[in-house]
Symmetry: C2
DNA sequence: CCACTCTATTTAACATGTTAATTACTGTGA
DNA sequence: TCACAGTAATTAACATGTTAAATAGAGTGG
């Protein structure tokens, strides 16, 4: 029963980090000339898909911690990528919506981003790509199974 | 041929982030009382497994960027978790080795860490756990397939 | 109305991620 | 030996991750 840790070469956390790096590298490269980060890209993607959202929901869907979102939103507002408005019913709450400049970035890069995703899908094959997403989902405690 | 991005709910990068968060949360919790971070734990694990390493190799095996390792190593040296020595042959190069206090942290937490890993393996099942590691490996451009 | 509690968000402090520039040292060829 | 290219590591600057504390507004029972 001697408890043994797997070699770091077969460590799940490290494998996740490296895979993420492998997947994000081309996306970061794509975004390099736009001056936005991968997290800002994620915020734009979520807003573009779901429409205006309150900050909590946005943070959740973009997988950002709240303090990170606060800073990111400030940056993005200053860049004119989003707009922030207070909820008049509950003035603690805030709504965030994508601005035209933000939409533009999405429009300009959707095709290329889709191509990058398609490349990974092809690398693994459709079936295994879906398998991977399912397995990853089972490691996410937030996912309602 | 309209290029379409997948919904963010089926996005590979987001799935990787969430899975990593799910896997790391219990490990961070385990480390909370030691005062070391998950990255410092990774450094200790690699040093413990491979013995003394030069900084480049250590950064590579722990999946840390070099500037991060520089800061982390400084912190860990000040805490007495590692020692750093210059290579006398090539004085640019540096060797890093784990110190007794570092060994102690590894020893104190190996059992619990192994149990956490075992939990995830059980969640997915042995076969799917291995499948996951293999699929993740195929997304890592650094992995020689 | 008021103390109290809860919730949404922000701020603070420190650690790491990321890219670019810089420093220190090594090896090489003129 | 000296200028120069290359390598190992550090430093700098900015963005995000992470946890804890602080603010601000909303809701509730007395």
């Amino acid at each position: 029963m001697a408890p043994r840790l797997p070699s770091t070469s077969r460590s799940l956390p490290i494998a996740l980090i490296r895979a993420r790096e492998g997947v994000m590298a081309p996306i970061r490269e794509m975004l390099a000339d736009t001056g936005i980060t991968e997290q800002q890209w994620r915020v734009l993607r979520v807003l573009s898909e779901y429409g205006p959202l309150d900050a909590s929901t946005l943070a959740d869907r973009a997988s950002l911690l709240f303090p990170s979102l606060t800073r990111i939103a400030t940056t993005m507002r200053e860049k004119g990528l989003i707009t922030q408005t207070r909820d008049s019913d509950d003035r603690r709450r805030q709504f965030i919506r994508i601005a035209p400049a933000g939409e533009q970035i999405i429009d300009d890069h959707t095709a290329q981003a889709a191509q990058i995703v398609a490349g990974f899908r092809e690398t693994l094959g459709d079936a295994q790509y879906e398998t991977l997403l399912d397995l990853l989902g089972r490691l996410d405690p937030g996912a309602r199974s």
